[in-house]
Amino acid sequence: MTAPISSYPEPRAPERFRTVNASGIKLKVYEWGDLARPPILLAHGGFDFARTFDAFAPLLAHAGFRVVAWDQRGHGRSDHAALYSQQGDLRDALAVMDSVTQDPVIVIGHSKGGSIVVNLAASVPHRVSSVTSIDGVPTRRPQFGIERRDSPAALLAAGEAWLDSRLKSTTGSRATGSVEDLAMRRSKMNPRLDITWLRYLVTVGAVPVNEGWRWPVDPALAFETMGPWTAWESLERTREIAVPILLVLGTEHEGESRAMSADELVGYLPSHARIAEISGAGHFCHIEQPSLVAAHILRHLGR
């Protein structure tokens, strides 16, 4: 692993804030760029929030787009939901889309958001004009499917741990701390990101409480599910997509995750798909190299 690059991308707060009601769940929506411009729907990753796009979204807005991001259910300033699922996220995305236009839109997603936009394009093809997935492909070693344990005893232990954590995880909230505490905690998940940027994310993403700050993400959210991880199945749906599709991949692997390489991906993609590798950048390549990632996407969009 190469050393983290120490650049602090210049963030810009959204120009407009609003709320969308998605079948009873209130979603916070954030916009950059002129209302009359062609819209781009921007989906964040798991345990992230829309304002992690504060450095990246303005670059797309500056190129002549209306960029619309939202906090997914349970994330950021949006409502916590009773239940979470890929279908729930897709229905929420459609609600945000409906609040913008009935015409086909450009969709871009990072990580879990990449799965969301690929599934949107496969599920409501008449609503999507172009797809970009930023480091949204599965890791080579799928660590999220409970049934993929290699022995019956390991599977038994994993299943019981999964159920036990669900039985007790469901109330309460994330631990509180100072800006520095939260930035350092996040730094363990995102080791390549500049600490100055992580401090900024705390101030726009965490909630101030008496003793300091707290991430508002719902403690009931979990990555691990029964059956194949949704990212794999999203990858398998990629071939169904007829509109232009771009996969942006960071070449640097973070922690234990080892993303699939461009060579491995080709077999899953329709022949018109394009891959852009961002060399020297990791999972958050749009934060490490916002201008380069934006340039790839703008070329994909014909700008």
Binding site: A22, A82, Q87, V124, E160, T225, G227
Partner: protein
Amino acid sequence: MLRHNKIDLALWHLAQGAGGLPLLCLHGLGERTDSFTTSAASTWKGPVLGLDFAGHGASSTALGGGYSTDSLIWDVDAALDYIGESALLGRGLGAYIALLVAGMRPTAVRGTVLLDGPGLSDATTAPRPDHLIRVPVTTRPDPIALAELLNEPRRPELARTFARQAALFSGLDPAIAVVAASRPPWLAATIEVAGVAETDVLLALEMFQS
């Protein structure tokens, strides 16, 4: 009512019984516990209980949906946590969920009976998230629950894996009784596992309550 995370689950006590192992009834897609009132469960000697899944019957709905195989498993596990060791009797979708729970909680589930019922099979074994309906939810069952759960895959490989787990770790033989006549792919895969028996419902219930 059983509070589980943000959902209130209706757990019905259908029969007091004369003591012994409880039987937990799990209804099919779009049904509620009263689907069992005329069933063979009346021959069970111990207490008989029934769970309304989230979005169904007297249980609360999940605002904005998010129903999944996972969430149904959690519903049943919350009920098991409350009741303790039980046998499971599942109809349709409830049968699929009962099988997975039996494989994940093989010491708490003391026998599982799989019956025909709504949601036993579905159109696909891969997710097709194209039921993205958006409606105001004022009716039961929750129309979003029906659309999402109809669309959830019933996976043969999961069914096979957890049937094996139930047979391996429960100490029961058979651990699973298949009474259903339908043979969707997940149930065909289940029947091939050692420790799964095809029988009739009265024999199955008698076997598990002794």
